[in-house]
């Protein structure tokens, strides 16, 4: 069963799938170890993500051999990610909001692909959006890029009014600064339960401020963006999967309906939205099972 269904697009139709599979066999023949490494390393092992991983492998192989590149042409969208990443999830929600077809590639950050390293040499991190082969990096930058390039397509993520845009950008920056640093503290950098508890209280304090922000920004409407999901919604929404997992670790809810009732209702609405389906994780156990892999990736990066 797949936890990361590819929304919107069957990347390969039947006849091209045959050609593709033939070329995969060729790739396996030429570079079997490389291909095996990619398949073995996929944490979320849906059939489609494996195909996408091998597709990436094929593209590298094809590029070297000067073969025609299926699916990597002008204007096509590809997103490199890790399924648990709040920064990746927010980009996927936006792509879904605009009903934009894209190819999703699950990355193994313990053994980074040449495509990732080549596309984001500065940070070597996900998400990376490739548009017609050109990379865009940094999740908030990517979201704004998508919103600007596909301005006429589907709903807008940022408001039209300059002042409202500045307010949205402010709260988005606040989320990644305060909630983001607490999130790192709660999961990755804490060495003791005391340190985790300290990070939890920082998260809760930030969420209480955001409760006020939601009241102000929404004006009684369902989302920070008003009637529809907007910039602050997707930025904060990316963390919801992990909040569910952290709730299990600490035995209480970070978004506590008693302390932050507006946010608690907002969370339900966000999770229920079509754009969030399949990309905002709802299986806390699965996320907790994946945590050791993430910690190992971080440890190997530190060396």
């Amino acid at each position: 069963m797949s936890n990361v269904p590819i929304k919107g697009v069957d990347v390969y139709q039947s006849s091209s799938q045959f050609i593709y599979q033939f070329l995969i066999s060729l790739a396996v023949y030429i570079n079997p170890r490389g291909l095996a490494r990619i398949i073995r390393s996929q944490p979320e092992h849906s059939a489609t993500t494996s195909i996408n991983a091998t597709h990436v492998s094929y593209l590298r192989f094809a590029h070297h051999q000067g073969l025609p590149m299926a699916g990597g042409g002008e204007g096509e969208l590809k997103l490199l990610g890790v399924w648990t990443s709040p920064f990746v999830i927010r980009v996927r929600v936006v792509l879904n909001l605009k009903s934009l077809p894209y190819e999703y590639v699950e990355e193994n950050l313990g053994s980074k692909s040449a495509l990732l390293l080549g596309s984001n040499p500065v940070h070597q991190s996900v998400p990376v959006l490739l548009h017609g082969g050109r990379p865009v990096n940094e999740s908030q930058v990517i979201v704004q890029y998508i919103d600007e390039v596909w301005a006429g397509v589907g709903p807008s993520v940022l408001p039209a009014d300059p002042y409202e845009r500045a307010v949205a950008r402010f709260w988005a920056a606040y989320v990644d600064d305060k909630v983001g640093s607490a999130w790192t503290g709660m999961l990755f950098s804490c060495k003791t339960e005391e340190e985790r508890a300290e990070a939890v209280s920082r998260a809760v304090a930030a969420l209480e401020t955001l409760e006020g922000a939601l009241a102000e920004c929404s004006g009684g409407k369902p989302f920070f963006g008003g009637d529809a999901i907007g910039f602050v919604d997707v930025v904060l929404g990316g963390y919801l999967g992990w909040f569910g997992a952290i709730d299990k670790i600490i035995g209480r809810r970070l978004i506590d309906p008693a302390r932050t009732p507006l946010l608690a209702r907002w969370e339900e609405r966000f999770r229920a939205a079509d754009a969030a389906k399949g990309v905002v994780p709802d299986d806390a156990d699965k996320m907790l099972d994946f945590l050791p892999t993430l910690l190992a990736w971080i440890a190997s990066k530190a060396k």
């Binding site: 865009v136 930058v141 890029y145 600007e148 500045a166 307010v167 950008r169 402010f170």
Partner: protein
Amino acid sequence: MAEKGVKVFGMWASPMVIRVEWALRLKGVVYEYVDEDLASKSDALLRRNPVTKKVPVLVHDGKPIVESTIIVEYIDEAWKDGYPIMPADPHDRAQARFWARFADDKCNAAIYPVFTATGKAQREVVREAQRCLKTLETALEGKKFFGGDAIGYLDVVVGWYAYWLPVIEEVSGASIVTDEELPLMKAWFDRFLAVDVVKDTLPPRDKLLALNKARRAQLLSA
């Protein structure tokens, strides 16, 4: 009575504030400047920015905008018929925003330790700062300014290096941006400081030097 006009809450020695002034001046916007004592912030500032309580704050017709890079984008959008600050092409805009984040997150974090480091430790932190700036420098290749032939968003965001880094170097005795290590950046420093809007807005160097000498002495004795 509706509040009209443009006001900037700032602090004369703050690089984050000067970005806002450069952006307003590029657009030819007349503004009132309110200098804050950061040790004793005014009620007006705290009322306008209760969340982070920091400068700069731009108040436009009574509405407060906070965070320097957000303010710069706001200025570009609110006075959209004036000087173009953001690049026109979305991919170029994404690049500019990416590098602005890199500079503020990574380069600034690498530069601050140089201020108080001494001896061998200073050599280490200088090397780290140079590494970061060399990465940023790649965005200058083949261009007069980060924005191309004329200054743009990224120049406004990182332009403070051109004036403040030499001050930090003088105060700490370190040598960061040199012709050998960062030739493109050094040449861009000179071009950037020659731009009218920039050079007309800089704080007096002797005052800045004195302030930073005092702050360094205070930090080192703590």
